[in-house]
Subunit: 327 residues, 2 copies
Amino acid sequence: MKKIINQTDDIIEEMLRGLSASYPGLVHRIEDSRVIAKNENKKQVALVSGGGSGHEPSHAGFVGDGMLSAAVAGDVFTSPTPDQIQIAMQEADQGEGVLLIVKNYTGDNLNFEMAQEMAEMDDIQSKIVVVDDDIAVEDSEFTAGKRGVAGTVLVHKILGNAARSGASLDELKQLGDDVVKKIKTIGLALHAATVPEVGKPGFELAEDEIEYGVGIHGEAGYRREKLQPSKDLAKELVSKILSDYDKQPQKMGVLVNGMGGTPLMEQFIFMNDVLNLLKEQNIEVTFHKVGNYMTSLDMKGVSLTLIDLEDETIKEALESEVTTISW
Amino acid sequence: MKKIINQTDDIIEEMLRGLSASYPGLVHRIEDSRVIAKNENKKQVALVSGGGSGHEPSHAGFVGDGMLSAAVAGDVFTSPTPDQIQIAMQEADQGEGVLLIVKNYTGDNLNFEMAQEMAEMDDIQSKIVVVDDDIAVEDSEFTAGKRGVAGTVLVHKILGNAARSGASLDELKQLGDDVVKKIKTIGLALHAATVPEVGKPGFELAEDEIEYGVGIHGEAGYRREKLQPSKDLAKELVSKILSDYDKQPQKMGVLVNGMGGTPLMEQFIFMNDVLNLLKEQNIEVTFHKVGNYMTSLDMKGVSLTLIDLEDETIKEALESEVTTISW
């Protein structure tokens, strides 16, 4: 295993130190915790998210005005503990309640729910929005139902904008549940990630092989086959996602997300193919985003997220100004 | 070779299409060219940069208000041709002249100078600032003297701010030459990049081996050795860079740059080690940046750039607001 690290036990601690020291004007770390919080808190419902580490810039990169109030980092590919989530909630709460945005994994669901109960004893009201945008497979290694992946970043943005505009906790919960239904994602991998503590890739693909539908922790996808040209990869993902909508939206947003080891050059080529296919379907793309947003350590691959943007206010929320490290 | 591409001949064309289609509100592509230009041109000296492709988001990602007016993309690791550079200059010029920011490679120097002569026939005044921040080696595979690498992005930012503020062509040339002297970079590689047309990694490193001083086209560095902990890698680069300054600056900026295949997690850990070392030296770090800015396709590795920020106006220039895809 070749990684720029020191001791594997110190990875999260040192990463959080490096991150918080690099953006002192924007965020700070709650001392002795796994929590990154924004410096300026306005009176609004607080948004807290988090999950296992290894998906950087998720979630700390999305802490800031117009997005998250705080983010909690677990160990690599491991849910943060309830006490750490509670610290984030205590820090973030401005008396208006806390909305928790959770990717749909069994461990995360349990720990965020437990944190919610603990926070209730602090008189912090909260609700949970569970993101399950990954339509590749039903039920998976760490998940009942669908997994939560890159679409989560769009949920951060849309709810962050609403929270800043004064939406109540109930309104945010409703909006979140509605928005999650509009978002669908599938990923594909060319090469698996290596978890530092394990020291070797999570799965093996042959020299000319890819896997469709791999999860962001290397969970199994739905098909392996020989590597195809980008336009054929795009065709597979676009058609699978579009056919999952009850009614094909006429206006959509596109997020092409790099998995950590995939150069931007390839992400732009893939985006070009995706846009050509959507044009053929007469779908107007009114929002675009390309880059590494929800990674899987050094995995090579991309995910494609589509979001129904027929509701113009959702598009405006995605386009609103934010002050974060990574949006 | 596993890459998300179609035909290797179409890589640059499709990348530029994907990029320009993804940010229509910010930049556009000059038809039938390799040029990405900003949508809104104000009356100011225009800044044009470019170079071989494979370093994304450089340079198109830095086109926008407060940075570059236009960027020209060559083939992978190959200088753009003079006629393409000329197109960028024609598009960018607002009658105040064009400053060309060129990384120090023989091909780039030749082609940008030729473009300069061609533009002169169009009555476009221009000057060139050559960036040679890579102190790892003197003379290299494609370079006489030192190579130009990640520090170029800081030059874009500092000169972009000055140009927007109304600096003249002569003033920008002077400022550029001064600033370049303040910036020093060294990279290291864990794994070489694979040029699509070649199909295999540019060099081979053993399972436990790294190379210090590798260039962004895989040019040889100055030493190979076994992979060390991040803090030892940081120590090597920090001490080598600091000792290259005639007088050690008391205030500095730090750019930790990922080479394309290196996760952000590792970049933050490396940044943490760099900051610890600078603190030991009583150097105050007043500007930080971490991420993939000057990549080398899918190379695994990082580069460290330090900039002397004792002149407060340089720090302010780095912190000024910009509207670009990738700053």
